[in-house]
Symmetry: C2
Subunit: 339 residues, 2 copies
């Protein structure tokens, strides 16, 4: 209650203090050369002294720009999947950096919040200037809907998907192919695919998995594909069940994420299955822990830093009415000891 003497400092009051009009003050603060240099620095100093900062709500209302981008973690509703997947969170961290570098702030949401209509909830409502979606999910319905509203939007996913919005992602087909080829060349003959080809990204990796077999003159049975959730627990249970029911009938694992690989590894270790002796394993994402694992995990690395930059770039292109396109980021196999 007390000492609230000087109510709130507005531009108008600052201007009064400086003995100029609000227009001048406003311009001075954003270094508009229309204002005499001396006046500019004087007002800026005054602003700093009173640590004044422009009211964002008012500014956004007037300029129709928020300088905020909404980032949506597009998770599957019923699973705890990725909320805790270090890879997704790494993307978020990189996006944050890239956005800041471009002078934008990040509003973080998950797909539960914000009802269904992303375009109107985030953009029409002036909460943000655009949307970055992390993950295509199994259905792109909401994404398509938002894009149809002609709102700036970019997606992390499978970049070869046909869509009228830019998709940034690694080369999933190549990733799946490289990994599988490597396993085959290392001697594996019965390789399981742990992941759900229902996701566009996984579908491509799976195709790579199949083609690598074909090119090596091998055939692969359909039930070697295990369409599980992208979690370590799902993988753990899957491998447990598989062995319980059919014994150790496989000698290689292609996993759609490192977390999945970790779950599988845990199940195998508990049964004293040797890695890579009995079963060779490859993960995907190259999260920091992959190399700390024992044995260090062979995995597919995607340049996430680059990806984040590209996503921001493509998004801002849209904000500025410029043409955009999907982009493939560099992807390669990191060979470690698990394969």
């Amino acid at each position: 209650m007390p000492l609230k003497a000087e109510s709130k400092l507005t531009l108008a009051k600052l201007a009064e203090l400086a003995g100029v009009s609000t227009s001048t003050a406003s311009r001075a603060l954003k270094d508009n050369p229309l204002i005499k240099e001396e006046t500019r620095t004087r007002i800026q100093a005054l602003a700093r002294e009173h640590n004044f900062s422009v009211n964002a709500a008012a500014s956004r209302l007037r300029t129709q720009k928020t300088h905020v981008i909404a980032v949506i973690l597009n998770l599957i509703d019923h699973t705890e999947q990725s909320v805790s997947d270090p890879f997704l969170l790494k993307i978020v961290a990189e996006l944050n950096k890239a956005l800041n570098a471009a002078g934008y702030e990040m509003l973080l949401s998950n797909s539960f919040m914000a009802s269904d209509d992303w375009a109107s909830y985030f953009v029409s409502s002036q909460r943000a200037d655009g949307i970055i979606v992390v993950g295509q999910g199994k259905s792109t319905e909401k994404i398509d809907k938002a894009a149809a509203a002609r709102v700036p939007i970019v997606v992390w996913g499978e970049p070869h998907t046909k869509a009228d919005y830019p998709i940034i992602g690694g080369d999933n087909y190549a990733g799946g192919y490289m990994a599988t080829k490597h396993l085959i060349e290392s001697g594996s003959k019965r390789i399981l695919f742990l992941g759900d080809p229902g996701h566009a990204e996984m579908e491509q990796r799976h195709k790579g998995y199949e083609d690598a077999h074909r090119d090596a003159g091998l055939t692969v049975s359909a039930d070697y594909t295990k369409p599980i959730d992208i979690t370590s627990t799902a993988a753990y249970e899957c491998i447990n069940d598989a062995i319980k029911q059919q014994g150790l009938y496989f000698d290689g694992l292609i996993c759609v994420s490192d977390m999945v690989a970790f779950g599988a590894i845990k199940a195998l270790k508990e049964r004293y299955v040797g890695i890579p002796g009995d079963v060779r394993i490859i993960g995907y994402d190259d999260i920091m822990l992959a190399e700390l694992m024992h044995p260090a995990l062979t995995t597919v690395h995607q340049n996430v830093t680059m990806a984040a930059q590209l996503m921001v770039e493509q998004l801002l292109c849209q904000v500025n009415q410029q043409p955009v396109s999907s982009q493939v980021v560099e992807t390669h196999l990191v060979k470690r000891l698990s394969s």
Copy 2:
């Protein structure tokens, strides 16, 4: 360019469509009982049909409330520390959930952005209604400054710190004590502390580490404390150097985070040091990967979900001018195979 017929849908236009005044429309949309029920539902339906959503900028300007909370990852400037630490990101994820549940959105920042004056940058500027700081860092200068501006603020850190803002955190002293006691009882006699007591949280853990020694009738040399950065690489290098220079002179490790523990484990494994045979290890945080590690990592668990809820609760108390206080969240040791 084309089909942009219906410019932007504003409340005024919606009202016109419905044949009422904007006041009525505004009230109807927020279910104000002043408006006849029939009218209310009619307007709400209309709004949904045209997927109208209120302009947040205008609304915030008028009401002086944003329904946004800024979350600041308070990282040490020069290290890459925690940006990729799964524990911090887990806190962020939980905060996001808790905030959403309370009807708030989350603006995510790191300490690089947003200059130095958090209070004025985030709150006075109407970018957010309050601030949640994750991590006290080694200096609380910026936090204190923000708090001095009498802005709603909550911190994740050491809850027993004297401060005029609420601090939520685990019982660090107890955590350090429990962990150390357990190692001693398991037979370790020369235990290193991996972490920098310069942080308030680590200081308490370190005190617990010392007291546990004292209570067991042991003394511990000051150079058994290794004030390293909270990263796996720092830990890796630290352990490597230690062994290189003095051999394996220790038989226990108390680490201030699981990531630190992982780095240490890597270094030990490379030298074929047995865990827990030769060296027993305890981490802190109980991140998901702790139990997937080999050997599964003994670690100190803090109830993060609860913590996030408390933080949001304490923050909103401030927003509503209610009294607040620091809170300690439940903390316990999870014994696994590394100790």
